[in-house]
Amino acid sequence: MKLARDLEIVGDLSNLPPSASGARNLVWWGNTGFMVIEGTGFALAAAVYLYLLTQASGWPPKGDQHPGLLWSGIFTAGLILSELPNLWVLRCARAKNVAGVRWGVLAMTLIAMALLIPRAFEFAHLGVTWHQDAYGSVVWLLLVLHTAHVITDWGDTAVLGAWLFSHEVGDDQFSDVEDNSNYWTFVVLCWLPIYALIYWAPRVL
């Protein structure tokens, strides 16, 4: 094995810890990268909504109903409130609390599943189908994108919960809980501007 140069050993890295949390962790950056990708996707979908709005003579177009506020209100309130247990789970992960992350992640799994119920009713009360006109298409686009978000994070959380309970919980798993919790916060934050667009833009603009 020929090398270009001799080496001179000037230090030893073996005393470094085998894990890290938060932004020090490598996987945190991967998670953040994917959040940037999806956030960009949402921003562009919102831009599509606003573009079509500016091109239309009426919004919603004549004959289309406004989307219902009841179920969306329930969903939105529930989503915002879910941040409380979510942030608690985040604290448990940072404090390396095994029981806390196990039961907390289970709770988040159940909460996410429960939130899908008002979300289903939201779809039924949008007041327009996706194939009716461009307004309907873009409203469904936004809601479908966010719902996919919720469903995949719910799946993620469920699997995370399953292996937290069935396996030893180490530093890497606490980091995973942290990343999962950050991702749920991302799901909540993404919803707020989308909610404003779907449910309030037609009433206010």
């Binding site: 001799d6 001179e8 470094l16 990708i37 960009t40 091109q55 309907g136 919980v169 180490g170």
Partner: protein, 630 residues
């Protein structure tokens, strides 16, 4: 200090792949993954080149009936889609995959299995497009399929859907690869390699990755909207339903313009590396080069409307986009100055990689200048959609992307294979390719100015276009011949090339510190860096640190700005899950060409594959309700 053979053997045992097919399917070695990307891209480049020659033969004679319009339209669509989505961007990603860990003195990328997943998905995109071609359902509406032509009314059948889903495959692969490259460059640098001491090549790959992350969601969104219009009757792009045809163009070009810089910026990274080594002095203007790359990256997102100057948008907006599109010539021009300046102040020697740098400058600058001409919203009304813009795009993409890629190939070939390519045949290939390309494409500027539109399968006699078309055909044929010589040189040198040793060119950056070819574990110790050119330290031994484990796969993670060592991260071992997951994803993507239910149904195998992928290998719990009971 002598090599510790026992240490090397134990590193081999930890990092090597299983033998045979299983090893091939489960490898997470970034070098092997990059190699398969490059081989696939080169093969596709050849196929796309054959399509091009076919079209050039068709256009050599006016009113030629050799090719039917359907076949010609399929050919230019397949040629453009292949070169842009399946060759150029993947080849640049592949060079990043291959070189980034080596240049960082790291043992693998940040997310090894994600890298394997990227390749399999990319291959899925390749197969989607080319098997469709074999089955005669080739997309035939160009490489950007504008509605309403690509909508349900005017393109029944599934050709347009094939195109849209091919893009979905390649964009997911590229997004995953970009997150991988960016995380590696930000968090896995060697101690001492602060951002200020990061070579231009790594800056280029980082910026290209970030641009990919911010631009590709746009094309994923717009192709999904197109499929939705075609499959489930949404009205995003149909005027009758309140949709807007131009919405597609805005979303497409919001991605499409950064895309060409995603191809060009890594190429500038290659050029910076080659110019430095072959001028025998540190590159001039490191800060200027990095800031130029950042400005190009940022500006690239503000130019997309220059692809829509003929669409009839308000004049004031067009004026803004003219100024912005011309402004990007400033950082590009400054880069050229820095490279030429390095040669001026150095001792340049014209080995084959440096010849490609010269070919790049001579060719790309023509493309850049014709780009300045098309940047004028007014003049573009005469130039767009003619052969002038065909000439422009090939000059910048081939001159600015492919020529640096060929140079990089020659430059790093010894590091990959341990052998040198033949200099003489390299020079011959260079002359044929660069000379043939210029002979083939320069006339197209004139053809455009003589009124020949693009994407036409034939043209009338008596327009005066015959001679230049024939010259273009001849030049293209010469270039393809040169390409064959280049590939033959690469293949023959693999077995019969002179052994290169670890550092045949006297390179300045860390990849030259490892052996040639690099072993599966890349480096036995972690290098420590105190300059931009760590290998140029007057022949003194390289400083390095011990401590990253040998008995298990482990990599060093450092801080983002200062590269302070933070912790040791377990690095993923070979796994079959990336392949299984990509098969599940492919099934969903392909199914959704035919029915929207494929998304829901297809999610199940994907979920299962991802669970398998991420299932931890820790011991079973000893506490709690699901604890292991003995």
């Amino acid at each position: 200090m002598t090599r510790d053979q026992d240490r090397l053997d134990r590193l081999d045992a930890t990092w090597r792949d299983a033998p045979g097919l299983w090893g091939f399917l489960t490898t997470v070695d970034h070098k092997r993954i990059a190699a398969r990307y490059i081989v696939t891209a080169l093969l596709l480049m050849f196929l796309a080149g054959m399509l091009a020659l076919d079209m050039r033969l068709q256009l050599s004679v006016p009113e030629n009936t050799r090719m039917s319009p359907q076949l010609f339209n399929e050919s230019f669509s397949l040629h453009g889609s292949t070169m842009l989505f399946l060759v150029s961007v993947p080849a640049m990603e592949a060079m990043a995959f291959w070189l980034v860990p080596l240049m960082l003195g790291a043992r693998n990328m940040a997310f090894p299995r994600l890298g394997a997943f990227s390749y399999w998905l990319y291959l899925g995109g390749v197969l989607t497009l080319w098997i469709a071609h074999a089955m005669d359902i080739t997309p035939d509406l160009g490489w950007f399929e504008y509605p309403p032509l690509s909508g349900p009314s005017y393109s029944p059948g599934h050709r347009a859907d094939i195109w849209a889903q091919m893009i979905t495959f390649t964009e997911v692969a590229a997004l995953a690869a970009s997150v991988n490259v960016a995380a590696t460059i930000l968090k896995m640098r060697p101690p001492g390699m602060t951002l200020a001491r990061m070579p231009v090549f790594l800056w280029a790959m980082l910026i290209a990755s970030i641009m990919t992350i911010l631009s590709m969601p746009s094309i994923m969104l717009v192709t999904s909207m197109l499929i939705a219009d075609r499959l489930v009757s949404t009205h995003f792009f149909s005027p009758a339903g309140g949709g807007d045809v131009l919405l597609f163009q805005h979303l497409f070009w919001f991605f499409g313009h950064p895309e060409v810089y995603i191809i060009f910026i890594p190429a500038t990274g290659f050029i910076s590396s080659i110019v430095e080594t072959f001028s025998k002095r540190p590159i001039f203007g490191h800060s200027a080069l990095v800031m130029s790359l950042m400005s190009i990256g940022a500006l690239a997102f503000g130019l997309w409307v220059h692809h829509m100057f003929a669409v009839g948008l308000p004049q004031l907006g067009n004026g803004f986009y003219t100024a912005a599109s011309m402004a990007i010539a400033v950082p590009a021009g400054l880069q050229i100055f820095c490279w030429i300046g390095t040669m001026w102040a150095g001792r340049p020697w014209l080995a084959t990689p440096m010849l490609w740098v010269l070919g790049f400058v001579a060719t790309f600058v023509v493309g850049g200048l014709s780009g300045v001409m098309t940047a004028s919203a007014a003049l573009d009304l005469q130039l767009t959609d003619t052969y002038f813009v065909v000439a422009h795009l090939h000059y910048v993409l081939i001159g600015g992307g492919i020529f640096p890629l060929f140079g990089a190939f020659c430059y790093w070939y010894p590091k990959a294979t341990g052998r040198l390519m033949s200099e003489r045949w390299g020079q011959i290939a260079f002359a044929l390719i660069v000379g043939g390309f210029n002979l083939g494409f320069f006339p197209m500027h004139l053809l455009g100015l003589m009124g020949m539109p693009r994407r036409v399968y034939t043209y009338p006699a008596g327009m005066g276009w015959e001679t230049l078309n024939q010259v273009a055909t001849a030049g293209s044929a010469i270039a393809v011949l040169g390409g064959l010589v280049f590939v033959a040189n690469a293949l023959i040198s693999y077995w019969r090339g002179a052994p290169s040793g670890p550092d045949p060119w006297g390179g300045s950056t860390l990849e030259w510190a490892s052996a040639s070819p690099a072993p599966s574990w890349n480096v036995a110790y972690t290098p420590v860096v105190d300059s931009l050119t760590p290998m140029w330290n007057d022949g003194r031994p390289l400083r390095a640190m011990d401590g990253i484990a040998i008995e298990r796969r482990e990599v060093l993670v450092t801080s983002v700005t200062d590269a302070t060592p933070l912790y040791r991260q377990l690095s993923a071992s070979p796994s079959i899950w990336p392949l299984i997951a990509s098969l599940a994803v492919a099934a969903m993507f392909l199914g959704s060409i035919f029915t929207p239910w494929a998304v829901a149904i297809g999610a199940v195998p994907i979920g299962a594959a991802l669970i398998g992928w991420f299932w931890p290998t820790r011991p079973r719990a000893s506490t709690g309700p699901l604890r292991a009971r003995s």
